[in-house]
């Protein structure tokens, strides 16, 4: 983790709160047309931390995650990963002014940020094995045989060693999501973003995906997880973050937020999702 190429620890130390910070967002603002979807979101995530985000539908959780790896542009504030903005660079001359980076540079910055989508988004024309091997092979230039070997090991890790040659269309939702997690891990990310990884799954498949995520937590992965699986939040999260109307309403240890939140909205929201599950 320390000697990753392209990770400038020096810059990280000077630009953000400290070298232990993986991601820091400051006053992030995002509009879609006329509506303000993120209205000043600030949060820091340290190395090895697991942050679970909850909040009502439309409160901006997905949008925030997408902004972190620049799947969405932001209209204000800044998001730093390892002390450097993702998708933006400092403009020449004028201090503090950020300009959007060239696509190639953006792609490079995304390499060590893993993203797991609600709807898996596996590549349907590739086998499970090639879904996992494709990015190391095509992006990092890992020799194909090596990439496949690593992919096989990752599939084993998510319990799908026997599905290597299956196409996504031949896999269940839970299996597809586990392949998607393996695919993200293949790039050896230092930060993993999960956007409701189990909400498109049939109830009986939720457990197998949560189990894989818990293993990642045990391995010390830094994770931001949008989920309403409160069991996962309680047992695996260091912090629970409550989103509401484009801002972070409050955050804290999961147990505290669940039993003694600072806002009535948090209480009613959490009670509703806990009872619903």
């Amino acid at each position: 983790m320390q000697d990753k190429p392209g990770l400038e620890q020096g810059t990280a130390a000077t630009e953000s709160a400290g070298p232990a910070t993986v991601m820091s967002a400051r006053e992030v603002i995002k509009h879609f047309g006329g509506t303000r979807v993120l209205n000043g979101v600030s949060i820091e995530v340290g190395v090895g931390e697991v942050v679970v985000m909850v909040g009502p539908s439309g409160s901006g959780k997905t949008t925030f995650l997408r902004c972190v790896n620049h799947l969405e542009r932001i209209d204000g504030g800044e998001i730093l990963v390892h002390g450097l903005p993702v998708g933006y660079r400092r403009g020449a001359g004028r201090l503090g002014k950020l300009v959007e980076d060239r696509p190639k540079a953006v792609a490079e910055r995304r390499r060590n940020i893993g993203f797991v989508f609600q709807r898996f988004n596996l590549f349907p024309h590739l086998t499970a094995l090639d879904n996992v091997a494709v990015a190391p092979a095509k992006v990092l230039g890992v020799p194909k045989a090596d990439a496949r070997e690593q992919a096989q090991a990752l599939l084993k890790r998510v319990g799908l060693a026997d599905k290597a040659s299956s196409r996504p269309s031949a896999l269940s939702g839970g299996q597809q999501q586990r392949v998607a997690i393996a695919r993200a891990l293949a790039m050896k990310p230092e930060l993993m973003l999960f956007d409701e990884p189990t909400s498109a799954l049939d109830p009986e498949m939720v457990g197998e995906v949560i189990a894989v995520m818990k293993e990642l937590v045990e391995d010390g992965m830094t994770m931001i997880v949008v989920t309403h699986e409160m069991g996962f939040a309680r047992s695996a999260a260091d912090r629970l973050v409550m989103f509401d109307q484009g801002v972070i309403l409050e955050e804290g240890p999961p147990e505290q937020l669940m039993t003694d939140p600072g806002h009535e909205r948090t209480r009613t929201f959490l009670r509703r999702i806990i009872e619903h599950v």
């Binding site: 696509p103 792609a107 940020i113 993203f115 988004n121 590549f123 349907p124 095509k138 992006v139 196409r167």
Partner: protein, 277 residues
């Protein structure tokens, strides 16, 4: 009986000359075969160039640079909005008459390529490019945006995303309309007669003016066009099957009969007998 035919031979318009028809159908003259050959190779070369050009124009239309998008849209508007016949005459006769450019015969790798053939291939390819651009655009639009997002999240540049993720999926969508385009292309070559290119149609016309066997010789030409498009439809079915997702397609190895008959009949046969599992 035989006498009747001799009479018909010498008197134009006096009936159908079967012996002439069979003769030209099964033992066509070398001039006719030359015409047939030109029809085939001009179609193939123009279609290949048209596919490449169409892809490039589709890329331009999806570019983040506005002038490129406009150029792409303008190209399609212009080339689809004017008749191929007019384009042919403009490129071959018009440019020469205006003193802008005259297509001269050139020698490429020991083979003489006629000026008129150059103009024909160029115009057909330019025209086809506009139609292929629309086909590529529709195919790329049909792919779930989550595919490109997943590729981006893995650190792929836009170019890599296109090559590794989008294009392979688009090709599957493109094959049926591409087959249609090539079918049209082979028939469109008959228009080349207006610029004096001795392809199959003009050859038939010359034979007609020498023999006055109008119905017979054009029926022969029709048979040959039909043979070309029929052979192509088999090739197309074969390609479609090769590109199909093995996870979804029923037969792993289509039978010879299946490949020969192609299409719906074959599919139905497979569905009724092949679903043993």
């Amino acid at each position: 009986m035989a006498g009747g035919y001799v009479l018909a031979d010498s008197a134009p318009g006096a009936g159908f000359d079967w012996s002439f028809f069979w003769h030209y159908l099964f033992a066509p003259s070398s001039t006719f075969l030359d015409g047939l050959w030109r029809t085939v190779y001009i179609s193939v070369v123009a279609q290949l160039l048209g596919v490449v050009l169409g892809f490039l124009i589709a890329l331009a239309q999806r570019s983040r640079h506005t002038p490129l998008r406009w150029a792409g849209a303008g190209y399609v508007w212009l080339l689809r909005g004017t008749p191929l016949l007019v384009q042919l005459v403009l490129v071959y006769n018009g440019l020469a008459a205006a003193g802008v450019y005259r297509f001269n015969d050139v020698r490429v790798a020991g083979v003489i390529v006629l000026g008129v053939v150059q103009a024909a291939v160029l115009t057909l390819a330019l025209n086809e490019g506009a139609y292929m651009a629309e086909i590529f655009r529709a195919a790329l639009d049909a792919i779930d945006p989550g595919q490109a997002e997943a590729a981006h999240a893995l650190g792929m540049t836009p170019a890599k995303t296109m090559r590794v993720v989008l294009l392979p999926q688009a090709l599957r969508i493109i094959v049926p309309p591409l087959g249609n385009e090539f079918n049209l292309m082979m028939k469109s070559t008959s228009l080349l007669s207006v610029i004096g290119l001795q392809e199959m149609f003009l050859t038939a016309q010359s034979i007609n003016s020498a023999t006055f066997k109008t119905f017979e010789i054009f029926l022969v030409a029709a048979c040959y066009y039909l043979a070309l498009t029929t052979v192509w439809s088999f090739v197309q079915k074969f390609i479609e099957r090769r590109l199909a997702d093995p996870g979804r397609a029923a037969p792993a190895t289509p039978s010879f009969r299946h490949r020969l008959t192609g299409g719906a009949r074959g599919e139905r046969g497979v569905l009724s007998t092949g679903d043993i599992r």
